[in-house]
Amino acid sequence: MMLPFLIIIPLLGAFSMPIMSLLGEKARNAWAILVSALTLGVASKVFYDVWSTRQLVVYTLGANTPLGKGVNFPIRILWEVDLFGALIALTIAFVGFLAVLYSIEYMKHDTGLDKYYTLILTLELGMLGIVITGDLFNFYVFLEIMSIASYALVAFRNDTWEGIEAGIKYMFVGSLASSFILLGIALLYGQYGTLTMSYLAVKIAQNPTLVGRVALGLLMGGLLFKSGAVPVHMWLSDAHPAAPSSISAMLSGLVIKAGGIYALTRIAFSIYATSINIKTVGWLVIFFGCLTLIVGNAMAVVQTDMKRLFAFSSVGQIGYILLGIGIGLAAYGTKIGDIALAGAIYHTVNHALMKALLFLTAGAVLHEAGTKNLNELSGIAKKMPFTSFAFLVGAAAIVGLPPLNGFASKWLIYESSALYNPFLAAIAVAGTAFCTAAYIRVIFTFFGAPSEAVENAKEPGKAMIVPMLVLITAIIIMGLLPWQINDRIMLPTVDMLKDQLHYVIAVVGGA
């Protein structure tokens, strides 16, 4: 079974990094690329296995069965992967690999790179752990691994106060959000006596209590924070621009998805779907989704710092994803709900690619021109045509311009929200208007008359160009095959995610 290697490889890679660094810079870089490439290989295999068989993969740590000896309920830590988890794991490994490759050149002049690569692999393994685990406390452990690595990476460049301040603020308020999550898990354990997600689903369905609802509230609050939903998004617009651009790509592209969106969706659908008023939960998520997509996109319009603009844009895009998930919950069991959820999952993957590309282009501009202030970057397109083209593709995709991938996922969300409640679709379109306005300002800046600040700028080296090229290709291909991807990957993912019975039977079926 390949699944354990999804954790073993990055874990081994992260902890052996300081030793490999002793062999020299090239060995360290090669080791980082090798480890992330192998992780990508394993993630692809796990995804293919789950996708081709449509069967959940269950792995018990330290035993053959999750059930205890002589008892008929699960007592061990287990990992349970369905298509949703496998798809997000593949996205994480893919973007993670490109971020490591990009870092080779982007971080070349920085010091302490053994720590940097250790942290980036730890970040990756934390996210991978979140999306494969079937145990709530194990989920919390991976969430903290991911969070602590991201706090450190945000403040990695400690020569500027911006990074340190953002890192400290992120750590402080992030720990508070984690405490809410831990409190929710503790309440569930106290009430139902289990941490296994699938068995918890059975126990809550048998005996829905107020404690269960309070626990869900605490979990939702903490996870909305981790996903950067308004009004708990303010850490994101500080932290993401302050981090090195390769890390910003992972934070905006992956961390808020794995630690926030994925976990929220998993808990709502796999644990609570049949034991709570799901319409209420759905409307709560819709409310925060609408708020997020308006405020995030609107705030992006008035930014002059390019990376801060992208960070606010990430907040806005999380709004679309939350809207899709909210409609998926509120219209649970209907075709509209399925399409909305498919759109949300599709947009999660798409946004990971688009935002990674945009942050990598921002990194290239910052690396070459030495500034990310949009008022100084006029005419960068003449000096960095490829990077500007990459930005153009990323911006067009995130705005939702056909025939790029962002259109397909946004279309599904618009269409399902229009059918569910036209008012929601109107809000979503208004958000896109702001999103377009924000990116048009950057496009005008890039393609204007060259300024002095960009005079000496030139295209970055191959190690930075290649990841951008790969992401451009992925965005265009996904844009040209939208419905094939939707029919063959996204809708089956939704079917598996909604199949709570299958999720439970895969673990306790033998009991």
Partner: protein, 115 residues
Amino acid sequence: MFGYWDALYFIYVLLIGLIISYLVFKWAERSSMGTRRTGNGTKIFLSGEDEDNVVPQFEHLKGYFTGRHTMWGLIRGINRMFIAFRREHTGLLSDYVAYLFITVAIILGVLIIWG
């Protein structure tokens, strides 16, 4: 119920649109009096900040397209909303914590009453 689209249709439409635009452009050029080739006629848009205009003391900004003015109308038109949004983004840690508590409180309230 759900309309599917083929990405290629958009490329076809784009190509046809480009051809029509080119034909209209050529037609306009033929029938014009030559005003499109000199002075303001060469500019794409006449409104907005003039990038060729050199303001005394600000010569170093000559020819800049900062992008600031491209969405001026939108930003000015709903200025109050932007002011309100920006006012809330104080950067203060205590505000971040307060918003987290408010959010959790709202969710708990809704779930306890209607959950």
